[in-house]
Amino acid sequence: MEAIQKRLSLITFSSIYLIFFLLLFFIIEGTHLNISNADFILDFDLSPFSIFVAIIYCLSFALSLFPTKEHENLRPQFLSLFFLGLGIIFSNTIFTFFVFWSFHRLIPFIHFLKNFDENSGRKAGSYILAHVVGFSLFLYLVFQSYEMNLLTTSLRNYPTTFFTFPHLIILIFISFMSQGIFPLHQWGTDLISSFSWQEVSTFLISRSGIILFYKMIIPGLSSRPISFQLAIMIITIISSIYWISMAMIEKNIHKAIGMFYLSQASLIITGLQAGPVGVKGALIQMVVISFASTTMWSITHYLDREFKLNSQTSFHGLARYTPRLAFVFIMMAFSVIALPLGLGFASEDLLVHALLEHAHWLGLFHILAACLNGIFIYQLFGKIFLGTPKNDIPQANFDLPYRRLIPYYLIIVFFLGTGLFPQWIIGILP
């Protein structure tokens, strides 16, 4: 069993690195890759945006899994989820997106359906319902596209005639539901509490909702009145504040990090609607949150294994036993909450100013969300690493060795370097 596990880890890692280097190769020029025959059409989009998201996707896993690789039990389904996530990122047509999106969600769906037991308490009704409703609505849109002969049309080039009010609402529903935007958010809690962090990350970092929103909905929104666009922005900001407030009172650490991630993802969607400056800010935020959240998640998962750390109701004081991990964690946290000299600062600055261009008070709510994010992340750090350690903690050093911490340090150097010279990353982003 152990040998299979090792082999699986090796395959997973090789795949992630191989894809990463392939993407670096492809970044030279945007091109389209078609796999088609008479029966089905899968069309992939190798545009700079997709490659950018995919690189972040692969790199986040490569860097966050490497240090704790020996301690992770990667299940075979992780590899499937990983590739399906990649498929979503590169989808160019509604049919391709639909295929990867539904298969990606099918894995947890089957798991939940099998384990749905009223007596044992392991239920995930929210996920099951969300998936069924989302799948049905998406299928309806695919049929509509087929009827309008748009099945082979790129998501970006959909005609405005397609974006009737019901179609647009359904698309926004699917996008928000995929990204866990309030009030279509509850499946997120089901998923986070039942799957491992890396499996959940394939859902969060592949960003199906954001991708659908960016590639398809934003062009469709341009023909709608500004009040409609504002309403969508308000929902996403409320969602961000909602998730971060929930994270602040959440007892389970892993769930809290997942909620924090969803809060940040809501802010990204808000930024994507706020013109070119907002898009740039949102893309930088995407980089920051992907690296930081997967790292924080892998650290807490590792600590959970060693110290049975899963609750943030009391202080654990683990900095005494894992000072290096505490340092990495706080650096990641500060980068996300827009501390100056970290990359998060540039993204937050761009986002706030772009939002103010749209509506003053919207920018203020964004500032409030950012403020709550800061409080939450420091509170989480304090609960995990600071305070008086409990007596039942084994008196030993559980810090990872330096050689295993190299990827984490690389991320920190990247955050600080790009935080000092943000113009560089602003320039290279698509």
């Binding site: 749905f116 995930a124 929210s126 509850q186 004081g317 000299l341 103010l356 304090g382 113009q423």
Partner: protein, 443 residues
């Protein structure tokens, strides 16, 4: 050597120093205590000399206020993050004060914290604090000021939790962070609004545009930006209604309490008001807000401070009182007096904080020597009150006039309670979803 060169040196030296310390930590070989002391001795002498030289050069040559424009830090399309520094009487004075006080405190800390766990951490954070202070001092725009402001706040929070194995320290650092984030919100909002409506966050430009704003019928924008700036300064200087965090911030080591809550960080609130004074003074309503809140804080802090029993908390309230008076001075337009008051108060408080712990020890060892000087009964206005009133006032002051209770309940009822209700609603929805699926899957 010009003023600009001195400014660049003032910015580069602390930055390179913290970069070196950071790299040594990254490499897994942080400076030993002795090497750290040597490095800090050289650097602190250098920054103190630089600060004093800049101060002397400015006043001897009677130099006019000047802005130093550097290339934008980053920009995209119409948005530009301007890098502007301002050299005037305010920045050189506060810069010199920061350099001198910090050098003294560093010298004091060499022995005070010797062999303490976290020795390296302390000195690294103090370096970061100095860099943040210099950015705030010489900032020519609200954006640059915000960077320094954040760095000062973050180092402050991390130093409150310096003894991180003590749970109460960590709790109080979280409370201080909430206070700081609130004031950050104010400054960030002011900066963003100024960008949007005035097109720049440069202090000089902002004050020039007030007339245009009022002329175009956007006077409320001026008032809102002004209120945001006042909000930020109130929270940073622990003025009412953001005063609760200061007494709790005394958990850190004494040198950090001295530098943050006696001397430099706490005075950044009035510093911001002085910096933005040409903008704020253009309407009486803003100066009135500053004056009233400053006056109320002075009254509140002096009464509450008299009921405290530990030296550091008493000093914290004493600082708060003086800051309240400084706010009143600013509201009345006595800017130079306020600056002198700030310098004097910062110097006195940092000395008192550093001396407090050893004074208590000295007193315990030699009570007879100190009893005449330390516990000398002084004139007090309380003597004129009837005993019954005095007792009532004392009880109220002991309870901090229920302000902590009020703010605690405010947070509880207006933030945590709605979230809890939301969570209950969420659980209800989940239960409903589970019931629907159970019904559909029934055999």
């Amino acid at each position: 050597m010009s003023m600009n060169t001195l400014l660049y040196l003032n910015l580069i030296i602390p930055f390179l120093f913290i970069l070196t310390l950071g790299l040594s930590f990254f490499s897994g070989r942080p400076f030993s205590e002795k090497n750290l002391q040597r490095a800090w001795t050289v650097t602190s002498i250098l920054i103190a000399l630089l600060g004093l030289a800049q101060f002397a050069y400015f006043f001897i040559n009677n130099i006019q206020a000047q802005s130093v424009h550097l290339p934008d830090w980053f920009s995209f399309e119409e948005y530009h993050f301007e890098t502007v520094f301002l050299i005037d009487y305010l920045s050189v004075t506060y810069g010199a004060l920061s350099a001198v006080i910090l050098s003294v405190i560093i010298k004091f800390s060499f022995n005070y914290l010797y062999k303490e766990i976290g020795y390296f951490r302390f000195f690294f954070l103090i370096g970061l604090l100095y860099f943040g202070l210099i950015l705030v001092c010489f900032a020519g725009t609200l954006d640059i000021l915000f960077i320094g402001w954040e760095l000062v706040g973050t180092t402050s929070v991390l130093l409150i939790a310096f003894f991180y194995q003590n749970t109460s320290s960590v709790r109080n650092s979280i409370k201080a962070l909430i206070g700081y984030r609130l004031c950050d919100m104010g400054i960030l909002a002011a900066s963003a609004w100024a960008h949007h409506h005035i097109g720049s966050t440069e202090f000089v430009t902002m004050s020039q545009h007030v007339y245009e704003l009022s002329h175009e019928g956007h006077f409320y924008i001026y008032i809102v930006i002004g209120l945001f700036i006042i909000w930020a300064s109130l929270a940073k200087s622990a003025q009412l209604p953001f005063s609760a965090w200061l007494p709790k911030a005394m958990e850190g080591p004494t040198p950090s309490s001295a530098v943050f809550y006696g001397a430099l960080s706490i005075h950044l609130g009035p510093y911001l008001l002085l910096r933005a004074a040409p903008f704020l003074e253009q309407h009486w309503s803003l100066t009135l807000v500053i004056g009233v809140l400053g006056g109320l804080t002075a009254l509140y802090a002096t009464l509450v401070g008299r009921t405290r029993s530990d030296a550091k908390t008493m000093l914290a309230y004493a600082t708060m009182t003086q800051l309240g008076i400084i706010f009143v001075e600013i509201s009345l337009g006595f800017y130079k007096l306020a600056l002198i008051h700030m310098v004097a108060n910062a110097s006195l408080r940092s000395w008192q904080f550093l001396r407090a712990s050893s004074l208590i020890q000295d007193f315990q060892e030699n009570p007879l020597v100190y009893q005449d000087t330390v516990i000398k009964r002084q004139f007090s206005i309380e003597q004129f009150f009837p005993l019954k009133w005095r007792m009532k006032l004392y009880i109220h002051a002991l309870n901090e006039f229920h302000l902590d209770y009020f703010t605690g309940n405010f947070l509880k009822y207006f933030f945590f309670y709605p979230i809890e209700q939301f969570k209950k609603f969420d659980r209800g929805l989940m239960r409903m979803n589970n019931s629907i699926v159970s019904f559909l899957l029934r055999k």
